[in-house]
Every structure is written in C-alpha cells, then in structure tokens.
C-alpha cells in the first residue's frame, strides 16, 4: 500500500470502510448534531457479498449511502478499488428500495442508460444490454415502459441497469423489500447467480435474517443509537450447497443456530431501545 490512491488491479472491487462515523445536524436549530454511526470498520474482498443487518434506524442506509457517495462522511475513510470515496460515481452502482426506473425510457433504454451517458459505443452497448436483459429474463419486455411492468420486473430492471454499467461494487438498499415472498426468493437466486458469474462485489442492506444468511458471505450486525458494528458473522457452513435452494439451506443444522443467534441479538437490541425511550 505504498500508493493508496493508485488503482492497482489487485485492489479492484475491494471495499474498505475504515472507522467511519456519521453525524447528522440536529433537527432544530441549536440542537446538537446526532451521531448516527460511530466508528464502523468493514472490509470486503472482490466478489464477496456483504450484508448490513440490524434493527430499524441503526444506520444501515446511511452507511450504504456514504459508500455510494450520496452522503458526506463525517469521520473516517472509505475506499473502493483503492480510490477514496468523495462523491457519487459510476464505479459504485446503487439499487434503491423504491422503484427507480426512468418512466420515459423503455426497459432496454433504462438498462442501457449508464452506458449511454458514459458515451460507450452504441454497438458494444447493445451487446451488453442484450446480455443483461437475457439474464434477468426481460427480453420479451425490452420495448415496454416501466409503467407496464410488475414490481419484481421493475426491480430486475434496476439491478440490470446497475450491473450493465459495470461498476466495481454493487450497492443495494433493501432491494427486495417491496416484493412478495415468492418473487423475493427468485430475485435472491437471480442476483446470486449473476453476481457470482461476474465476480461482483456486493454490499446490501436487509431486514430479513433469512435473506442475510442465504446471500451473505459477511454479515455486519449493527446496534442502534448510535449505530455501532456489534458483530461480523461469516456463514461459512455448507459452502456451496447452502445456495442451492432455500429448503437445503434450512436443513443445515448450523443455519438454525445462526438464525436464532441473530434473532436473539435483534431482540436484545429491541428491548434496549425501548429502555432508552422509556
């Protein structure tokens, strides 16, 4: 690490969050700033799936938005592929919980948007767009407008749009939160499949413990008020068969153990929070 700013190939896709804190200004004038995150450190290797888990309000979205460059960093330092984060950029693609398809563009134009504004050649662009449309199974809907799609389809468009732009890391804030369980499960498998194939680094936020264990290589569990990293959990069991399907996952004894461990932490956080407000 002689030249931390230089972009060497060994650092590609690496995420380093170093002792990051976030202070939001007080809601009213004269109120002191509120500490939303306190000294959080978390790293991801290229191709790893990181999951931010914790009770509501613990600062998961805040951390993700700081990595995206959409929120200023009060203290500490975040680097992606060795470059320090100072603002949003195409190396960090983001998928939001709400629908963000551009309504005036067709499905294929949405997927190709990033490539178009970054003036990639039209020929290469259509190749990439076709590839990702195929992966998300929306080839038949390429000429449709987002308005004509279901919620799950729109979220697939958003994921394909972020991936087609070839970011170093993919950031997702509760991307499946608005979907029904069946679609949710399909989307989880779809994303895992694509991400492993592309060796994409992913950082995602979720409320869902099952989703975290199913998808995550590294799960960061946060406490609330101010948000602190309580524990990093690495579900190493079952290596590959864990991701074959949900039923196989749940049959693994280690899974149940880990789930109840996380559940206990969630409960403890919940009761701690109610003590604070009492």
């Amino acid at each position: 690490m002689a030249h931390p700013e230089s972009h060497t190939s060994s650092e590609f896709g690496e995420l380093r969050i170093g002792a990051v804190s976030k202070r939001y200004p007080g809601a009213n004038r004269g109120e002191p700033p509120r500490l939303a995150l306190e000294s959080v450190s978390f790293d991801l290797q290229r191709g790893a799936m990181g999951v931010l888990l914790g009770p509501s309000g613990c600062g998961k979205s805040t951390l993700l938005r700081m990595v995206a460059g959409l929120e200023s960093i009060s203290e500490g330092r975040i680097t992606v592929s060795g470059r320090e984060v100072t603002g949003p950029g195409r190396d960090r693609g983001m998928v939001f919980q709400t629908y963000t398809s551009f309504p005036w563009l067709t499905v294929e134009e949405n997927v190709g948007y990033g490539l178009r504004i970054n003036s990639s050649a039209a020929g290469r662009r259509s190749g990439v767009v076709d590839y990702f449309l195929d992966r998300i199974g929306l080839m038949p809907f390429r000429k449709a407008y987002p308005e004509q799609l279901s919620g799950g389809m729109r979220q697939r468009v958003a994921i394909a749009r972020a991936l087609a732009n070839q970011p170093d890391i993919l950031l997702m804030d509760e991307p499946f939160g608005a979907l029904d369980p069946e679609t949710r499960w399909q989307m989880q498998e779809l994303v895992l499949g694509i991400v492993h194939k592309e060796r994409m680094t992913v950082l995602m936020v979720t409320h869902d413990i099952e989703e975290a264990i199913f998808m995550g290589d590294r799960i960061a569990f946060f406490s609330r008020g101010p948000g602190r990293l309580l524990e990093i959990i690495e579900p190493t069991f079952g290596a590959d068969e864990r991701r074959l399907d949900k039923a196989a996952l749940k049959a693994i004894p280690d899974y149940g153990e880990m789930e109840s461990h996380i559940l206990q932490m969630m409960r403890a956080e919940g009761s701690r929070a109610s003590e604070q407000t009492a």
Partner: protein, 276 residues
C-alpha cells in the same frame, strides 16, 4: 361472471363514490348538460323576460357569429388575438422555464429568487396597464407585455414547484450511474418534469386568454376584445355574446391541442385504460 354482469347493464348511470363513468355515458351526460343550458337560455330569451335586444336567444347569437365572419372579417380579429397570446405566452414560457428549472432543482437558486418572485404574483397585471401605456404606448407591445406579466410569475412558481417534486431517487440513481450535473439536470430532472410542464402550459394558457380581453378592451383596434367593445357601443348584444362564445371556442381548441400534444409526446404517461 363478474365481468358479464357489468357488461349486461352498460347504460345504468349510478351515483357512487369514485365509480368510473364510461365514454358513452360521459358523452351523453355532457351533451345533456349543454342541451339543458341552451334550452333554458332559449326559453328565457323568447319568454319576454327582458327586451330581446338586450338578451338575445342562442340562435340569434349563432347567426351573429356567422355574420361577423362573413361580413366583418372577424377572422382578422381572431388571428390578431391568437397572435398576441402566442407571442406573449412563448416569451413568458421561455423566460420562466430556465428560471423555474433552476429554482426547482437547486434550493440555493430558489432561496435567491423566491423572495423576489413570490410577491410579484400578488400584483394584479391589469394594475400595470397605466404604466405600460406610458412606457410602451397603446400598440401591440403594450398588450403583449400585459399578457406576459399576467402569467410569467405564476409560470415560474408552478414550474419550480413541479421540478422540485421530481423524486430524489431518480436523481441519485443517475448520479450513481456516473451522470454529470448537466446530464442529471437535462436528462433526468427536466425530462421527468416534461409531461407536467406541458400540463402547466395548458392551464396557464387559459389564464393568458382571460387577460387577452382586458388587454384588448383598453385602446385596441383589432382583436376579439376590440370587436366586443365596438359592438357594445352600438348595443349589439348578440355580437358581444358571439365574441364571448368565440373566446370560449378558441380556449377549448387550444386546450384540446395541448391535451393531444401530451398524449402524442408521452406514450408512457398514458393511463392504462385499455389492458392488452
């Protein structure tokens, strides 16, 4: 079964909250309202409630309108009025669009201009007529300036409000895809507000149209408003009414034109009335 039952009684007009009305029902109801209105007018005018010279029936107004076009070159007045509205509105929109866009997109710009623009909206444009007459004379420039003042501040505020309502997630998505400030402003903020901008133009055009008559009543030699004032001098109530009817018709046509524009330009914003 449910669908079949609904189709078996297509003509039933039932009053219920939020109950959709079919196209046929809408046409029938709308026509009925007009027939009742015209019938009542015709009856009142012919029943000698007032001297017919001061309160002519609709049939007489219609023939007066026809006569205006055939013998008094009314089309020249109509064109003069349309021209004034078109020029002044184009100028007002061209002024308000960049200002509203920047105010809506950047709170800093809004904080600078808002204290200036907001009070202007409360100044009635006709109050400027004496000033405009002194500065610009009684010609077309003064009328166009009045029409401009009548809508421009509302346009700025409406456009800024609408642009501000563009969802932040769309902007942030574009930023994380690598868009520059300029690309976000033109390609996302402006593009996302475009259908709403056409709607704002349509609604404010109606306001501009109401100021037109005020502009033309003051020292004008041509235009629909000037014709109405001429007819008043000879107590030709039928021609005054014909002029008012003409204004209504033109306003309606312009409204339709903008609705058509909206429909053509924004296929994605069409309501999903017909499911595949």
């Amino acid at each position: 079964m449910y669908i079949w039952r609904r189709q078996s009684k297509p003509r039933a007009v039932r009053i219920a909250f939020q109950r959709p009305v079919s196209v046929t029902q809408r046409v029938v109801l709308g026509t009925a309202a007009w027939l009742i209105f015209l019938g009542a007018w015709q009856y009142a005018a012919t029943a000698d409630l007032a001297p017919q010279r001061l309160f002519p029936p609709p049939t007489q107004v219609l023939s007066a309108l026809e006569n205006l076009f055939r013998e008094q070159a009314f089309h020249a007045d109509v064109l003069a009025s349309l021209r004034r509205v078109a020029i002044s509105f184009a100028l007002a929109f061209a002024f308000a669009l960049p200002l509203g866009l920047f105010m809506g997109a950047f709170p800093v710009v809004a904080a600078f201009f808002n204290p200036l623009v907001s009070p202007f909206r409360y100044l009635p444009a006709p109050a400027f007529i004496p000033l405009l007459l002194m500065w610009l004379g009684a010609g077309d420039t003064q009328k166009i300036a009045l029409l401009f003042l009548g809508v421009v501040w509302f346009l700025v505020t409406l456009i800024a409000d609408h642009v501000r309502s563009v969802r932040m997630e769309l902007i942030e998505t574009a930023l994380t895809l690598g868009a520059s400030t300029r690309q976000v402003l033109g390609g996302v903020v402006f593009r996302a507000s475009l259908p709403g901008l056409v709607d704002i133009a349509r609604q404010m055009l109606a306001v501009s149209w109401t100021y037109l008559i005020i502009a033309e009543i003051v020292a004008a030699t041509d235009g629909v408003g000037a014709m109405i004032m001429r007819a008043r001098r000879f107590v030709r109530v039928d021609e005054v009414m014909a002029g008012i009817v003409m204004i209504g018709i033109l306003g309606l046509l312009l409204d339709l034109l903008f609705r058509l524009l909206h429909w053509k330009l924004f296929p994605y914003a069409r309501q999903r009335s017909r499911k595949p």
